[in-house]
């Protein structure tokens, strides 16, 4: 099986689905000849032409607003927002229309749109290019929110997202676009939206993360394994709807849980996971659920950014704090 990066896996997913389904189209700023600033749509315009791979005017509300109309008329737009911090001009369209059309019309209209964008920090980028803002979307009823951490899942989730009958927010960990490789089959396959994955089974501590936090968690895993402490690592993959059964099952086994999140702490997804455990599995807990998160601050510019991002030291300390 060929080894692929997340960027290559995403590109292949888009390619396959455009080939399979003529209603799929790509829209975004510089997604055509430039292939997107991260080259995720590279080569697609050559194969599918300008009508299906559209370099739009520089207007996010325009992209999502017109995608809503396209989708209601039977097209399947996959919209690229150039960076996490530039989704906001389209926020009105996403929250007030894309997310609501189905409920508003009692199922008569739907918006099967994928809104994909690079997210996360740690890449020495400019302001607005290092955001982890998944909470806004998770907090919006009507949206699904997906965030893969591996090439295999990136491809399978992208294919599932495009086929999903509802709008899907697709966050891509930009820091790991090109530096993780794994076997990715050439064929068509999907990864079910709404299902977390137990990446590494273990019996002592459940460690939950998603997207850019997964490589970090995997890095601290050996540190504990050496001491005979086996972490059970869960990659959520889908942030909304949350796969609560997988989380609870793990916590019932381990009795301890740490959630690692890059986003600011207050009202981050870690808070919701912690509440779910409190409500449904408190009797199994041997220690309080612990969060390791970014601080409640604006992502600092690059010289100061490291101080905000969860790192090995902070994750290790978080896990150790509930081991006693």
């Amino acid at each position: 099986m060929p080894q692929r990066t997340i960027a290559e896996a995403l590109n292949q997913a888009l390619f396959l689905e455009m080939e399979r389904d003529p209603s799929v189209m790509i829209m975004g700023e510089d997604v055509g000849i430039d292939g997107g600033v991260f080259r995720i749509t590279d080569g697609l315009i050559k194969k599918f032409g300008e009508e299906r791979v559209v370099d739009t005017p520089l207007a996010e509300a325009g992209i999502i607003g017109s995608a809503i109309g396209l989708a209601m008329a039977g097209m399947r737009p996959v919209c690229e927002m150039q960076f996490d911090g530039f989704v906001y001009p389209a926020f009105d369209q996403i929250v007030n229309h894309a997310a609501r059309m189905r409920n508003r019309s009692r199922g008569k209209y739907t918006c099967p749109i994928v809104i994909r964008f690079p997210y996360c920090g740690g890449v020495r980028a400019l302001e607005h290019h290092s955001e982890s803002a998944e909470t806004y979307y998770i907090h919006t009823p009507g949206l699904r929110v997906v965030c893969p951490s591996t090439p295999y899942d990136a491809k399978g989730l992208m294919l599932a997202a495009i086929r999903d009958p509802d709008p899907v927010i697709f966050q891509e960990p930009k820091k790991y676009y090109r530096n993780i490789k794994e076997e990715v089959p050439d064929e068509d396959y999907t990864v079910e939206i709404g299902k977390a994955r137990v990446m590494i089974p273990g019996e002592h501590v459940t460690v939950i993360g998603w997207g850019a936090m997964i490589p970090l968690i995997l890095k601290v895993h050996p540190h504990f394994a050496q001491k005979g402490i086996n972490l059970e690592v869960i990659d959520l993959r889908t942030l909304s709807p949350l796969d609560t059964p997988t989380i609870l099952e793990s916590v019932q086994k381990t009795g301890r849980c740490v959630i690692v999140q890059e986003a600011p702490r207050t009202l981050g997804l870690a808070a919701e996971i912690s509440a779910q455990i409190m409500e449904n599995a408190v009797q199994f807990l041997q220690a309080p659920v612990q969060r390791v998160t970014g601080f409640d601050i604006i992502p600092p510019l690059l010289k100061l950014e490291e101080w905000n991002l969860p790192d090995e030291k902070r994750v290790i300390a978080g896990i150790e704090s509930i081991l006693e």
Binding site: E29, D30, G32, I33, D34, G35, V37, D55, P57, L58, A59, E60, A61, G62, G85, F86, Y88, P89, R124, A125, L126, E127, H128, H129, R265, T266, F295, D296, I297, I298, P300, L301, L302, K303, L304, E305, W307, N308, D311, K313, R314, A317
Partner: protein
Amino acid sequence: MPLIPEFPKIDDSMIQVLAPDGTVVREDFLPNWDEARLREVYKEMILIRRADKKFTNLQRTGRSGTYPSMEGQEATQMGMIYGIKRDDWIFPAFRELAACYLHGVPLEKIYLYWMGDEWGSNYEANALPVSIPVGSHPLHAVGTGWAFRLQNKPHITVSFFSDGATSEGALYEAINFAPVVQSRTVFCCQNNGWAISTPTNKQTAAATLAQKAVAGGLRNIRVDGNDIFAMYAVAREAAELARQNIPVFIEAMTYRLGNHTTSDDSGKYRSKEEEEDARTRDPILRLQKYLAAQKIWTPEFAKECEEAADAAISKAVEAAENTKQNPDDIFDYHYEKITPPLAQQKEELKKFL
């Protein structure tokens, strides 16, 4: 006769004073600058070009983050700033090294900002920090220009942005707001031909960007943005109007000679021929030709300008690089007074430093 007439033809002419070969085509708009002033302008242009170029090397060697070069847009920004006053306020996008520097932002601060420290946006000059969300900040300039009218202050505001920004909804709102609230503001639209890989003719079907202002009832003009004399003449008149509560939209025709940013490769989407052709309209070359014809420019003078520029640039880079970062800063400026939860998080971080 159709009921709905064709859209009236919009004039796509532009104001020019210096032709690309440096000859004067409009005597009446020549600035009344003496030889000393002309030398100074050329010297500043050289400093700006070299200060901008310095970033390529800083970024490559990991000393700066991503940087958007403004090479080719010097005359537009310089002419605009020469046409306003120091106590007027400017609202840059992200490609405005020249405008910011000339309006009083210390070079050292400009380097510090792109090296990745918020202190690079803290200075005395009447220039707002860099605004990266495209098209968002002209509304701020409208608001401040509105306040100046309400407060009876003699100042105006100028927002800088480029062709791509004219596609954003917020920009149409700014165009519409400005005359309604009689804001003392000038829109300085630098049509540099490109928004990353998207050429202006794919950005809009409008024949000119200036005509977008027509719908908002805004006075507007098109000018050769690589011609510092034309730009200066237009800027002065626009500023004068803005001071009388009449906002103006300027479309300055220029060209982004470099890559979009240090992480872009323009070879992917535009031809070498186009770039080479654009270089024949380089604003520095044009001024140089004019000055040479006046016997003001000589190779020795150019060398003198370059050496002075490099000395100033080295000093600024050094000062920026010697600036130490303080972890408390990432918490301390979110509110006037730090909140209790943030204060707690600030302590938490200390355990890991």
